[in-house]
Symmetry: C3
Subunit: 383 residues, 3 copies
Amino acid sequence: MKDFVGALPLIDHHCHGVVARDLDRPGFEALMSEGHRPVPGCSQFDKPLGLALLRHCPPVLGLAPHAEPGDYLEIRRTLGFEEVSRRLIGANGVDTLLIDTGHRSDAIFDPARMTAISGVPSREVVRIEAVMEEVARRKPASGAELRKAFEERLAERSAGAVGLKSIVAYRTTFDIDQSEPAEAEVDAAGDLWLRQLDSGEARRLENAVLIRHGLYVGARLCRDRGFPMQLHVGFGDRDVMMPKCDPTVFLPFIEAMETMGVTITLLHCWPFLREAAWLAEVFSNVYVDTGVSQNFTGASAPRVVAEMMELAPFHKQVYSSDAFGLAELHYMGARLFRDALAEVLAGWIARGDLLPQRAEQIARAIAFGNACRIYGLPLPASA
Amino acid sequence: MKDFVGALPLIDHHCHGVVARDLDRPGFEALMSEGHRPVPGCSQFDKPLGLALLRHCPPVLGLAPHAEPGDYLEIRRTLGFEEVSRRLIGANGVDTLLIDTGHRSDAIFDPARMTAISGVPSREVVRIEAVMEEVARRKPASGAELRKAFEERLAERSAGAVGLKSIVAYRTTFDIDQSEPAEAEVDAAGDLWLRQLDSGEARRLENAVLIRHGLYVGARLCRDRGFPMQLHVGFGDRDVMMPKCDPTVFLPFIEAMETMGVTITLLHCWPFLREAAWLAEVFSNVYVDTGVSQNFTGASAPRVVAEMMELAPFHKQVYSSDAFGLAELHYMGARLFRDALAEVLAGWIARGDLLPQRAEQIARAIAFGNACRIYGLPLPASA
Amino acid sequence: MKDFVGALPLIDHHCHGVVARDLDRPGFEALMSEGHRPVPGCSQFDKPLGLALLRHCPPVLGLAPHAEPGDYLEIRRTLGFEEVSRRLIGANGVDTLLIDTGHRSDAIFDPARMTAISGVPSREVVRIEAVMEEVARRKPASGAELRKAFEERLAERSAGAVGLKSIVAYRTTFDIDQSEPAEAEVDAAGDLWLRQLDSGEARRLENAVLIRHGLYVGARLCRDRGFPMQLHVGFGDRDVMMPKCDPTVFLPFIEAMETMGVTITLLHCWPFLREAAWLAEVFSNVYVDTGVSQNFTGASAPRVVAEMMELAPFHKQVYSSDAFGLAELHYMGARLFRDALAEVLAGWIARGDLLPQRAEQIARAIAFGNACRIYGLPLPASA
């Protein structure tokens, strides 16, 4: 099973670009974390993600597995980030990268450069909240103008995209009114936010009314374009109010999307794996991945994938790395996910719960088939 | 251990009747789900429950394991649902079925017919909310009349029963005032609900005051009759507001029941297995099962049972299938539970954590002993 | 790996004294539980903690593993609690006991007597809320006087301590305003509480304003002394309102402590293991243990430790037994933790995810190195 899954093409339906420069050790370690500040005398290599990185990546750069951090970073600098990116992203069997361009986009490669550097085709996923912030930076004269400009800009930005993404969980949590706000309410909220931006009281978009507006404008685009809306769930930066980022708290919105015919993909889901799997079971429009939790759990990734596989329908699971900044995270995501999926399926086969041929169908669906179906992508040539 | 547990009689302390007719494929698949609507091109067989069904059930109907869905459904139709029910329910070593008659009771077999078709003795568990709805359909003139008629009817319906069940988690969540409401409050709530039923504003019982009244009327019956009150927890239909169905949210009620001497059985518990196990540890009146999650997790059922076995006292665990509609769910529940329990115990024995003789005592307690004790049932003849 | 970890010295950074007398069976069983009242005909030995106790402890007292409870308790009485304590605490390789003296301190040994009886050095951890209650028992004339006396007394009590502990989770849950209250607010709350104590309306400290005051007074002491503040999390007595004891609910306080430079150790964490591990990943000041859940899960302790090891940085994990009352819980805690940690690491080694030498470094850090660093303790002589 390991060889079979290891050779499958993957659609990485949620990732980010890599940092477009060489990195020293502090710079590299900073990208190994979702918010952790350094502990004196301790290293980001001293955790599951660090172990997994040093196990899996050194061979790609010509070192033995379990290299020392210093040796690894030295050869990384010697090769240069472009060659490193080429090897770590281009050589892991990923067929297409669906890239979220809405986070620190000035610091990382955009889809075109990601493809240029890696040889892997890429498509864009547009982050709704980032577009509203982009529009606000142009200083519209009123909330009404902001609203119109946002609607136009989101449509425009989505023209070549394959999906939208919302980080409502970060900005307001899921514990909000989940209905569509009225236009007048949106305009008033826009007036307020623009004033707050002007005065420096507000920096980023955290106004629940505007975020809800963004979600529903985005939903209509998703419906019309026939592509999914991605929702960040759970694990992430330190500014997550975790108990209210349980995806079941967002059930009313998910149900509204089902009614509209909009596909929702729940990203990462850790630590709410079971809650997410249940939503995928009971709502026809919900898809799930284990995303960032593969890289952060490293050697324990099979536990995480096994927990998602407990209940989630096989035609509702997709793959993502959520790699950000480091090419290593692209490579590890694919490697850890393949190994974990193969281990779960092989275990079921060994116990008589699954025939090998059926296991292959399931693996193909999760590796690329489901993602191709919901994102409207062609099947990989190698599939 | 597998043979020993496989031969034990089971008390299925929470299940439902089967659908009293033959089923075409859409009808069959609809009963494989707790709310999922079809995804075009995808099948309910394409998930853990579907895999497990096709592994375990075909041999009972004369096919090889891992049959194709079409072949399985064809032989099912050829045999007819009565023969299928006889084989799948009568042949899985269940000693007694405790049947919840409060859900879609017009569409499924009642206890008498379940026994007739399967040869397995059955007893009734009465759903509190269904009785209040039944009484309301007779159009009492006032809330006060509703209250009195409900109290009488619940006592009457309970006469031959072995327990009561509440689905308060579905109707209001556990996040409610958990004290007993005053009579005047109940009567006013009844007046309101009856008016809402008349006008079509309300359909089912969702009034928290009336539900609380039902719980306390039920509690006194449970105390007087010396039988348990079952509480639905967690996983279920799509109308569950999951975070508020964590059973620890219902701690004040559970504590009130402990004071009254009423046994509570927490059903399913997934994804709140650990929370439920903790309640079973710290409250003398709390019992737990993994219920519906066995069938829905299929090949992963041992993970789920292992998680409950982490902490829950062995004399506080019971078995249920929560089978509804399909005879297959009765068969699979028993099979998956036996295999999972045997696997957990065998693992402990292999590591030296448990003696085989002690493992047998534990298995007997969980399979039937604890249920016989709390439901006042005779020990199975084969025990 | 098992032999290596088995021979490592441990710092038990959170435990309690043992009961200073011989125990009959009801007295012994009462200490095997965090709140469970007896179920007629059932025993506290009939659960995972009971199995583990009878597996691991009898050999220390000269019996074979898996002794009968009666035999075990008889030899325990024959040897006497002092000899039993000497054997079970002195012989498990624990280098230092960090003892919380704030719970039922009249019934159990204090640190000096724990050291005298076991030969194991011990240091004190002072429970903040217990100190405020101690001060209140001296009947200060006003809230302002209470406040001043508390600040003096906490500093005094901390003089020889290595850390402070708060049980805010038990008393108010984590779902409170987490800022520091103003002096006038504290004084008013103190006036109220003193009146309530006088009239008998209040017994223990449950006033959120006073508890918050205690936390911030304690925080400044921790900062100045350079030692940690321990926070009880999750599993415990029956008076925990579990969903609001999720440590991520306390994120604002944890972040305030990071800003102040105060180390936080999250105790037990079960069932919020993943949430706690995430906090250890994203906050530089957060450390975690699996504490009481090792003893209560017994044979399943490796599952629990494996779940914490999924994500938590290796330099952020520490060991505790949370033993209270019974010397057996000290012994089992150490034994179960060692076996679990060794099993997780050995599994990673076997799969190629970890080199043995690196595994040893990780084990040393978690067994004693991290605790020595944050509590300012010398490295064990045997390290």
